[in-house]
């Protein structure tokens, strides 16, 4: 096969994998975003904290599925605690207030992670299977396919939960009109913590996949993850999981192409550029619904 084409295909498959991981992080993020309707600064540090927990569990030689599940559940619990202590007391305050209290929570999580696991990046077990298909010179790794399947399953699963369970329908009512939802007898203080919990749980799944894929975990992935998740969710359209999924894929693919064909600096800048462009030209995202933002 011609090396140009091969390079192109390789870049595409790398991009789709990176995009799948962004999607997973963005879908969890999108859940909470639809309630808050603004940047959740705690999301990135929360899922990285959870990924560190998974790292510890795997290091203790717990079976992988158990380690992932336990880390996910613990992170869900931390997410619910954040809701209770950081968001709930300022639920009816001006928009800027929850944003700042979330920054505080992010700082606490980051500092705690630094104390427990140290400030340096550490090697994460590369648990994804290492095989590959050889397609006439182009190598498609099994893990490329696995992360995409995982991300797809996640977005389909979450969408199903939102549309077909009592919890999911109640969440949609709260997102649309909190006061009317309360008049239906929907208990805010039961449903909202669950949304934060689920958001954290699915965020961690994305984080673990990311760290497992690239074999590294570091504290810096927190703020970085918040930006990527925000960009992906914004790009796709807030409150729409397929939007977040699509946004994650587009972001991952375009970043990887920018890195492969332009420069690594271009790759790094792309997430921020996407946020600015979307905010300016399509504030509701590609698949987003219109919503009047409360000021």
């Amino acid at each position: 096969m011609n090396t140009e084409l091969n390079y192109f295909l390789q870049t595409t498959s790398n991009g789709i994998s990176l995009g799948s991981m962004y999607s997973m992080i963005a879908v969890g993020y999108s859940m909470v975003y639809s309630l808050l309707y603004q940047v959740n600064f705690a999301h990135g540090d929360l899922y990285v904290f959870g990924t560190f927990i998974a790292f510890s569990f795997i290091s203790m030689a717990l079976p992988l599925p158990v380690a992932i599940l336990a880390a996910g559940l613990l992170t869900a619990l931390i997410g619910m605690t954040i809701e209770r202590t950081v968001y709930r007391p300022v639920r009816y305050a001006n928009r800027i207030v929850p944003m700042i209290s979330a920054l505080g929570a992010a700082l606490v999580l980051r500092t705690a992670a630094q104390i427990i696991w140290g400030p340096e990046a550490i090697a994460f077990p590369q648990f994804l299977p290492g095989g590959s298909f050889n397609l006439g010179g182009f190598t498609l790794f099994h893990k490329n396919i696995i992360v995409l399947l995982f991300a797809t399953a996640l977005v389909v699963g979450l969408t199903w939960i939102m549309n077909h369970t009592k919890f999911g329908r109640a969440t949609q009512c709260i997102v649309e009109n909190m006061e009317a939802a309360q008049l239906m007898g929907i208990p805010l203080n039961k449903i909202i913590p669950l949304v934060y919990g689920l958001g954290g749980f699915f965020g961690v799944i994305g984080g673990i996949m990311y760290s497992g894929y690239y074999g590294v975990i570091s504290i810096d992935m927190g703020i970085w993850g918040t930006v990527k998740a925000w960009a992906a969710a914004m790009l796709g359209g807030v409150g729409n999981f397929y939007g977040a999924f699509l946004g994650g894929l587009i972001l991952g693919v375009s970043e990887t192409f920018a890195g492969a064909y332009i420069s690594s600096a271009a790759k790094e800048a792309l997430g921020y550029i996407v946020i600015v462009l979307v905010l300016v030209f399509r504030p509701n995202g590609l698949l987003g619904k219109k919503k009047v933002v409360k000021v």
């Binding site: 009592k166 008049l183 929907i186």
Partner: protein, 235 residues
């Protein structure tokens, strides 16, 4: 006594909205509260639903005190509130709106039967069952808002300005439904600026002005009272 509000005071920060208000609703009654813009009518209903907390006073329902609990407990106890401006969930289907109204119930079969029943009673809801509620007209949304509130099988229904912004024929339809609901055994606390219609169907009525009860009496007495006629009926 089904519902009684006793010496209620409600503030928004420093602003007083409800000033020492006491009202009662008996089993099977339609009771209305009439008053101008900003009189405190919606505030009173929201306080009964526990969306707002009173500064002082009590709200008793079936002889238990309900203020201080959460709105979902109020719904489970049998009080359902149709808010001002309908507030249907516009991006959800008519069906999902009705399901939302049934959130407090656990009997899936009964919920299904009730949805079928309301689809017959309000044919437009049946026809549009799987369309977005936001596509319904104002009158249709009011029917949906009422049906949705009834899905919790309340003992008392709070209605906040159900005729607001509707054409006269549709208002007639809404009032026909209000009387039907009462016949089915559900008590009604009705809030209106459109005092004429409200007083005509009410067993008893209160006039609320600047957060205070100014007058009360039977619906008929109130409709014939000269002050009420001058100030609220524009006669």
């Amino acid at each position: 006594m089904l519902l009684s509000v006793e010496n209620l005071w409600v503030f928004y920060g420093p602003i007083e909205a409800i000033h020492d208000v006491s009202i009662q609703v008996d089993q099977g009654e339609i009771v209305s509260i009439v008053g101008h813009n900003g009189a405190g009518k919606s505030t009173l209903l929201k306080t009964i639903s526990c969306l707002l907390k009173p500064t002082a006073g009590q709200i008793k329902y079936n002889d238990g005190v309900i203020n201080g609990t959460d709105p979902d407990k109020v719904v489970s106890a049998g009080i359902s509130h149709v808010p001002e401006g309908r507030q249907v969930f516009a991006s959800l289907s008519v069906y999902d709106n009705l399901m939302a109204g049934a959130y407090s119930r656990g009997d899936a079969d009964g919920v299904k039967r009730d949805i079928d029943m309301y689809c017959q009673r309000f044919p437009i809801l049946g026809e549009r069952l799987h369309q977005r509620a936001g596509y319904l007209s104002g009158g249709e949304q009011q029917m949906l808002a009422i049906a949705r509130a009834l899905m919790s099988r309340p003992k008392i229904l709070l209605l906040d300005e159900p005729s607001l912004g509707l054409a006269p024929v549709v208002v007639n339809e809404v009032y026909r439904i209000i009387e039907e609901i009462r016949k089915d055994g559900t008590s009604i606390l009705l809030v209106e600026q459109n005092a004429n219609r409200a007083l005509n169907v009410s067993d008893r009525a209160y006039v609320l002005a600047s957060g205070q009860i100014e007058l009360s009496g039977t619906g008929k007495e109130m409709a014939e009272n000269d002050d009420v006629r001058k100030v609220y009926l524009g006669v």
